[in-house]
């Protein structure tokens, strides 16, 4: 019962993050909402896994936790440099 209540709460949190992703005036609001949605999805996965008695989906949760951060950093790099193959780096070369 507590797993169902917690799953509904995490689902409500996901809906709020989706609203922010749709409304956010800047692109960084949307990236933040996407990151929060990823964390909420991992939590929902774990909670529903416990609810149905099959906690084997936690492996997918580990995988998505790693993919979430990589995706966030990739989107931010794209919006900064316009190109995912940009070498990056802040300091200008002296030569």
């Amino acid at each position: 019962m507590i797993f169902a209540a917690a799953s509904l709460a995490v689902l409500a949190a996901l809906v709020l993050a989706v609203i922010r992703a749709l409304r956010g005036p800047t692109v960084f609001d949307r990236v933040l909402a996407g990151n929060a949605m990823g964390t909420g999805a991992i939590m929902l996965l774990a909670l529903v896994g416990f609810l149905t008695g099959r906690p084997e989906f936690l492996d997918i949760g580990i995988l998505y936790a790693l993919l979430n951060i990589i995706g966030t950093l990739a989107v931010l790099k794209f919006f900064r440099h316009g190109d995912l193959s940009h070498p990056g780096g802040e300091e200008p070369e002296d030569e």
Binding site: R20, T26, T72, F79
Partner: protein, 154 residues
């Protein structure tokens, strides 16, 4: 009550974790600025996730499930600050200006200093002039009491 003490404690931690997760999401929805929303996202990413995973660990005992949950917790706790920092740096680099408490921007190119300092100096000089005036008034009042004109009324 069919649950053992571990299940009751786990249920309590799950309820608290879900509460903080929803509180963080409400912050993401309602805060006025992108930098403030990052603070709210940090609440749900650290406290909410940690309490939820701790509650689930108490339900599953000392098995492989607990180890996987610990790995998820470690990954989220390590990568959430990285994401927040990169996001804030990217937003600042792109020119998104933070909204401060009094609605004014930080000092930077094109921002004039606050005019409130000049106002305070004027107020100070005004209060000093008021203090200077008061002893003059007192002397005039005592001079009026001493005159025979004021005594006839009583």
């Amino acid at each position: 009550m069919t649950g053992s003490i571990a299940e009751i404690a786990g249920g309590l931690l799950l309820a608290l974790g879900a509460f903080f997760f929803v509180v963080g999401a409400i912050g993401i929805y309602r805060f006025p600025d992108v930098y403030a929303r990052m603070h709210a996202a940090g609440i749900s990413d650290t406290v909410g996730v940690a309490l939820l995973i701790a509650g689930m660990m108490l339900f599953s005992g000392f098995t492989l499930i607990t180890a996987k949950l610990a790995i998820i917790l470690g990954v989220i706790l390590f990568t959430s600050p990285i994401a927040t920092h990169a996001l804030a740096q990217a937003a600042l680099h792109a020119g998104v200006e933070p909204l401060l408490a009094n609605g004014k921007l930080l000092a930077g190119p094109g921002v004039k200093p606050e005019p409130a300092k000049a106002g305070r100096a004027v107020a100070r000089s005004r209060s000093a002039a008021a203090k200077r005036k008061r002893p003059v008034k007192k002397a005039a009042r005592t001079a009026r009491k001493a005159s025979p004109k004021g005594r006839t009324k009583s």
